[in-house]
């Protein structure tokens, strides 16, 4: 395969791709390498269980509980493991906090590293050439396309996920949420705000 000209794969029709993927699964199953029921379970988990709500609940808890926030920023893996209820995370999660002085933004320029357990599967734009190429060079331009305009003097810190460390941004807590429950706060925490291409929603923005 590696030696072949791959041109025939360009824009391969959907039917052909489906057939080839099905053939691969048949071979791997017949060989005993994979159990199709385990594959079903993985797909189901990403379709129904593992998504940005996991991360949003962690951020909401950090906003309400200073001790938890301190623990999260010190060692995110340990702090989330101690919660017990959230989805299990790998060993290498780092939480980084946005402040009025510094805005954090996460990218993987080399592939698509992303904190799956906290945010689910990455959106297509995160894995795309425009984001991967520009996030490190022109983050303010990228942010503008997401509708985010930061003060001129705010430091923009871009974290390129070049190893197995995974980063989750703790966005700034919106004003006017002092009485909010964790659940209510979590509704303000968008996926993009935990990647750093967005801000948490204000209570007014969240109102239907």
């Amino acid at each position: 395969m590696a030696d072949h000209d791959h041109d025939h794969d360009h824009g391969a029709p959907l039917g052909e791709i489906q057939l080839r993927v099905r053939a691969l699964e048949t071979i791997l199953t017949e060989k005993g390498y994979v159990d199709p029921a385990a594959l079903d379970a993985i797909v189901e988990a990403y379709e129904t269980k593992i998504g940005p709500r996991n991360g949003a609940l962690v951020v909401a808890k950090a906003w309400r509980d200073p001790a938890f926030k301190a623990a999260l920023l010190k060692d995110a893996t340990a702090a989330i493991a101690a919660l017990g209820h959230a989805s299990r995370v790998g060993d290498h999660l780092v939480a980084i906090e946005n402040t009025p002085q510094r805005h954090n933004m996460v990218v993987c320029t080399l592939c698509s590293c992303y904190p799956w357990e906290m945010l689910g599967l990455p959106p297509i734009w995160y894995k795309s050439a425009p984001y991967r190429s520009r996030a490190v060079k022109d983050p303010r331009g990228v942010l503008a396309e997401f509708g985010v305009k930061l003060p001129k003097e705010t430091e923009v810190r871009v974290w390129d996920s070049t190893a197995e460390t995974r980063f989750i941004v703790v966005p700034m807590r919106p004003a006017g949420t002092e009485d909010f429950s964790e659940e209510q706060l979590a509704d303000l925490v968008t996926r993009d705000s935990m990647i750093g291409t967005g801000l948490a929603r204000t209570p007014a923005e969240a109102r239907p």
Partner: protein, 218 residues
Amino acid sequence: MNGVHDMGGMDGFGKVEVEENEPPFHHKWEGRVLAMQRAMGYAGAWHIDDSRYAQETLSPRVYLAVSYYWRWALGMQQNLLKRGFVTEDEIAAGHSLRPARPLPRKLTPEVVRAGMARDTFFRQQQAHARFKPGDRVRTRNINPLGHTRLPRYARDKVGTVELIHGCHAYPDAVASDRGDDPQWLYTVVFDGREIWGADADPTLKISIDAFEPYLEPA
């Protein structure tokens, strides 16, 4: 390798296009590819850096032209063939034609439902860490033909060690089948102007996670 996958700082790819309410998978086959890849990784067939390297060695035209999960499928197929888990004639036939190559374990639905955490990449340290937070370091100017996690834009640049993440499996060794070769891993932060020149945004800071062999004292 200096492939097209190493995109940081390239120009000309256009705007970031956001799809509203994007589903986890756009087609059923995408989920099957992701799941097969994870199952083969769990089984011990190859490492995550082998998957990355297989994709990096696709022709640049293919890498840029195909969709994300189709790229995964092409990389997976390459590892299956290269490592003798599947043969070309089996792929052509769409069926197994000969005995399997044994694998250490097999992923079951129970393991998935119990909540699959990622593998740990921590390894036993082989020596003391050479650097500590606050140290000034220069990234090496390396251009290996194999897999590396030091992006081109961050080579031969001076930065500051900010975090130490412990000792990790070293991707450059793993993806050339040289074992884990554990190395200290650091977050190193650079001023935007060090990377992009004097007219770069003065408020920009960029960090990479750098393995110790990528670094020397500055």
